[in-house]
C-alpha cells in the first residue's frame, strides 16, 4: 500500500510538472493555433534567469516573479519578431524557427551561465521534514505547492478563455486570424499576448519544476519534460485546458506505475510504454480525450 501510494504520489507530482508545461502549450495553441516547439527551452531560459537572481540574493519569490515577467516579454517578443514574419509566409518554416530558438536559447543559457547543473531553490517548504504522511507515503510541501499552482492556473486560464473578451479574441484568432482581423480583433496584439502568456506560464512551470526535477537545473532538464508535456497536451486534446492537466497527470502516473509494476517494461521502456498507451487511446479518440473535433464541412 505504502509503496503504491508512494508511486502514485511520485507519478502525480511528475505529472503536474508535465501538466504545467502542457498548459503553456495549450495556451499558445488556443491563442494562436500553433504548437510552440521552443516552449521547453523558453522555460529553461527563464528558470536560469530566476536561478541567477537567487544567486544575487534575491528572494525566491521575487526571482520567480521576475522570471514570469521575463517569460512574458520574451514570449511576446519572439512572437512579434521571429514567428509572425515567417508564419505569414509558411507554416512549416515556423517549426524551424522554433527549432532554431530551441538550439539558440539553450546555447545562450549555456553561454551566459555555463552548462553545469544548478540548484534552483524551491519556493515551497522542501526540507526533509516538510511532509505529511499519506498512508505511510510522504507528501512533501513542494509537491503540494506544484499541485496547488496547477489547480489555480487551470482555474485562471479557464476563466480567461471562457469569460473574458481577450479570451474570446484569442479563440477567434486561433480559429482564423484573417477573419478575426476582419472582425476588428487586434490580431497582432492578441498573438503577442498569447505567446507572452504562455511564456509566463512556461516560466512558472520552469521555476516550480526544476527544484523537483532529478537533474535539477541543467541544459537538458527541460527536454524530457517538454516531450512529455507535448504528449500530455495532445493526449488531452490540444485545445483543452483540463485535457492538458489530465494528460499530464496520466502520463506521470502511467510512467511511475508501469515502470514500478510491469517488470518487463522496467525502466528501460518507461517512456515508450507510456507513449504507446497514449497512442492506443488516440486510436479511440483521435482528437485527444477532451479535444474538440474539427469538422471540415464541404
Amino acid at each position: 500500500m505504502e509503496l503504491f501510494v508512494e508511486r502514485l504520489l511520485a507519478g502525480l507530482t511528475n505529472g503536474s510538472v508535465y501538466a504545467l508545461l502542457a498548459l503553456a502549450l495549450v495556451v499558445v495553441y488556443r491563442a494562436t493555433g500553433t504548437l510552440n516547439f521552443a516552449q521547453g527551452e523558453l522555460a529553461l531560459f527563464t528558470t536560469f534567469v530566476a536561478w541567477w537572481l537567487t544567486t544575487l540574493d534575491a528572494p525566491v519569490w521575487v526571482a520567480i516573479v521576475a522570471a514570469l515577467i521575463v517569460g512574458f516579454v520574451l514570449g511576446a517578443a519572439i512572437e512579434r519578431l521571429l514567428i509572425r514574419p515567417v508564419q505569414r509566409k509558411n507554416d512549416m518554416a515556423v517549426l524551424i524557427v522554433a527549432l532554431g530558438l530551441f538550439t539558440g536559447l539553450n546555447s545562450l543559457a549555456g553561454l551566459l551561465w555555463g552548462s553545469e547543473t544548478k540548484i534552483m531553490p524551491s519556493p515551497f517548504p522542501n526540507g526533509l521534514d516538510d511532509y505529511v504522511s499519506v498512508f505511510g507515503a510522504r507528501l512533501y510541501g513542494d509537491a503540494l505547492g506544484v499541485w496547488a499552482a496547477l489547480i489555480v492556473l487551470l482555474g485562471l486560464m479557464t476563466l480567461l478563455f471562457r469569460r473574458t473578451r481577450i479570451g474570446l479574441h484569442m479563440r477567434a484568432v486561433a480559429a482564423n486570424p484573417e477573419s478575426a482581423a476582419l472582425a476588428g480583433v487586434r490580431t497582432g496584439r492578441i498573438l503577442m499576448v498569447g505567446w507572452g502568456l504562455s511564456g509566463a506560464i512556461g516560466a512558472l512551470a520552469g521555476v516550480l519544476v526544476t527544484p523537483l526535477a532529478p537533474e535539477q537545473l541543467g541544459l537538458t532538464t527541460m527536454f524530457h519534460i517538454f516531450i512529455a508535456a507535448s504528449a500530455a497536451a495532445l493526449f488531452g486534446g490540444l485545445d483543452s485546458l483540463p485535457g492538458a492537466v489530465v494528460g499530464g497527470l496520466t502520463i506521470g502516473v502511467l510512467e511511475a506505475l508501469l515502470s514500478g509494476y510491469v517488470s518487463f517494461i522496467g525502466g528501460e521502456l518507461q517512456q515508450t510504454s507510456a507513449l504507446l498507451i497514449i497512442v492506443a487511446i488516440l486510436f479511440i479518440r483521435p482528437n485527444g480525450l477532451f479535444g474538440s473535433k474539427r469538422t471540415v464541412r464541404v
Binding site: 524551424i96 532554431g100 546555447s107 490540444l238 521502456l269 497512442v279 488516440l282 471540415v296
Partner: protein, 356 residues
C-alpha cells in the same frame, strides 16, 4: 452612355513568364543535360578533396537519402513525421547486426534493412487512418522515443546502451571494385552518391506517377481526394512504407560509413529533428530540397562550430536557422523553384495551345 465592351471573361492576362519551354523538346533536354553535367562535375570535384571532406560529403549523401524518404511522407503527403530517426536507426542496426552477428556482406544487408523498415513504415502508417495532423506527429514521436529504448533493451542483439562497433575490415569495399580496405572512404562516397542518384530518380518518378498525384491530393484535401477515388488509408500507409524503406536504406549506408552505432548517438529524436530541419531548409516537396537540406544540416553546424567555440556556436547555429527561414521560408530549393517559375514555364508536350 458609351456601349460597354462585352463583359466576357477577361483575356488570359499578359504572358505570365518570359520563356516557355516545351517538355522533352531539344531545348529542354539540353538544359537538363547541362544541369546533370554540372552536378556530375560537382561530385567529381568533391571526390578529389581531402579524405575527411570526402567523408563529410558521404554524410551529406546519406542524409539526403534519409531526407528524401521523409520528403515523401511530410513533403508530398503532408504527414509531419518526427519519427524518421527510427527508420534510420532500424536500417542502421539491421545492417550492423547482420554484418556482425551473421557475417553478411554489407551490400547484402541492404534489401533486408529496406524490407524491415518498409514493414515498420506500414505499421507507423496504420494509425494515420484515424489520427491526423499534430496528433499523428505524436505517434511518430512515440516511435522516435521508443527506438533507442528498445535498442537498449535488446542488448544481446544490439549491444545495448554500449552500442555496437562494426570494425572496418568488415566494411572493406567488395573485391570486384578493385579497391582495397584503405580506400573505404572513397568507396562509400561513390556508393552513397550512386544510391542517392538512384533514389532521386526513383522519388522523382514516384511523384510524377499516378500514385504521386494521389499523395499530393491527400495532402491538399483528403475529402476531395477520396471523392475522386483516392484510397486515403492505402495511400498513407504505403507512403509511410516506401518512405521508411528509403530512410532505412540511408541508415544501412550510415552503418557502412561510420561503423559505430549507439542508441543515444545517432538515432534519437534529435536525429529526427535534424531530418525535418534539413527538409524544411532545403525545401518541402521539392526534388532538390533534400540534397540542399542535407548540405545545410551537415555543413552549417560544422562551420558555426569552427567559427566560434563553445556555446556561442549553438547560438550562432540557431540564429542562422532563423535567418534562413526569414530569407527563404519556402526553403532554398523552394525559393529557387519560385524564381525559375517566374521566368520559365515548362509546358507539357500535349498542351493543346501552349501559352506564349
Amino acid at each position: 452612355m458609351t456601349v460597354l465592351a462585352p463583359a466576357a471573361r477577361p483575356q488570359a492576362a499578359a504572358p505570365r513568364t518570359k520563356y516557355v519551354i516545351v517538355e522533352n523538346s531539344p531545348v529542354h533536354h539540353a538544359i537538363r543535360a547541362a544541369c546533370i553535367a554540372v552536378a556530375a562535375l560537382g561530385v567529381l570535384w568533391a571526390s578529389q578533396l581531402a579524405p575527411f571532406r570526402v567523408g563529410q560529403f558521404t554524410t551529406v549523401f546519406i542524409m539526403a537519402i534519409a531526407i528524401i524518404g521523409l520528403n515523401l511522407v511530410t513533403g508530398y503527403t503532408g504527414l509531419l513525421s518526427i519519427g524518421h530517426s527510427a527508420f534510420f536507426g532500424l536500417g542502421a542496426y539491421t545492417t550492423g547486426v547482420l554484418i556482425v552477428k551473421l557475417e553478411f556482406a554489407p551490400l547484402a544487408t541492404i534489401p533486408i534493412a529496406m524490407a524491415l523498415t518498409f514493414v515498420l513504415g506500414l505499421l507507423v502508417g496504420l494509425p494515420s487512418l484515424r489520427i491526423h495532423g499534430l496528433y499523428l506527429a505524436l505517434v511518430t514521436l512515440a516511435v522516435a522515443v521508443a527506438f533507442p529504448e528498445i535498442v537498449r533493451k535488446l542488448e544481446s542483439l544490439t549491444g545495448g546502451a554500449a552500442g555496437m562497433v562494426v570494425r572496418s575490415r568488415y566494411l572493406a569495399p567488395p573485391e570486384w571494385t578493385g579497391l582495397v580496405r584503405a580506400q573505404r572512404g572513397i568507396w562509400m562516397f561513390w556508393l552513397s552518391a550512386f544510391v542517392l542518384v538512384l533514389v532521386m530518380i526513383l522519388s522523382r518518378s514516384l511523384i510524377r506517377s499516378r500514385f504521386g498525384l494521389m499523395m499530393r491530393t491527400v495532402r491538399d484535401h483528403e475529402i476531395a481526394a477520396a471523392a475522386n477515388g483516392v484510397g486515403i488509408a492505402r495511400t498513407k500507409i504505403l507512403v509511410f512504407g516506401i518512405s521508411g524503406a528509403i530512410t532505412g536504406l540511408a541508415g544501412a549506408l550510415f552503418t557502412m560509413y561510420i561503423g559505430a552505432l549507439s542508441p543515444d548517438g545517432s538515432f534519437t529524436l534529435l536525429k529526427a529533428i535534424e531530418l525535418v530541419t534539413g527538409l524544411v531548409l532545403g525545401g518541402v516537396a521539392t526534388q532538390l530540397g533534400p540534397l540542399i537540406g542535407a548540405l545545410a544540416v551537415v555543413f552549417l553546424p560544422y562551420y558555426t562550430a569552427s567559427f566560434t567555440t563553445g556555446p556561442l556556436s549553438g547560438v550562432l547555429f540557431g540564429a542562422v536557422l532563423i535567418a534562413l527561414c526569414f530569407l527563404m521560408p519556402e526553403g532554398i530549393a523552394g525559393r529557387l523553384g519560385l524564381l525559375i517559375r517566374r521566368v520559365v514555364t515548362v509546358v507539357p508536350k500535349d498542351h493543346p495551345a501552349p501559352p506564349r
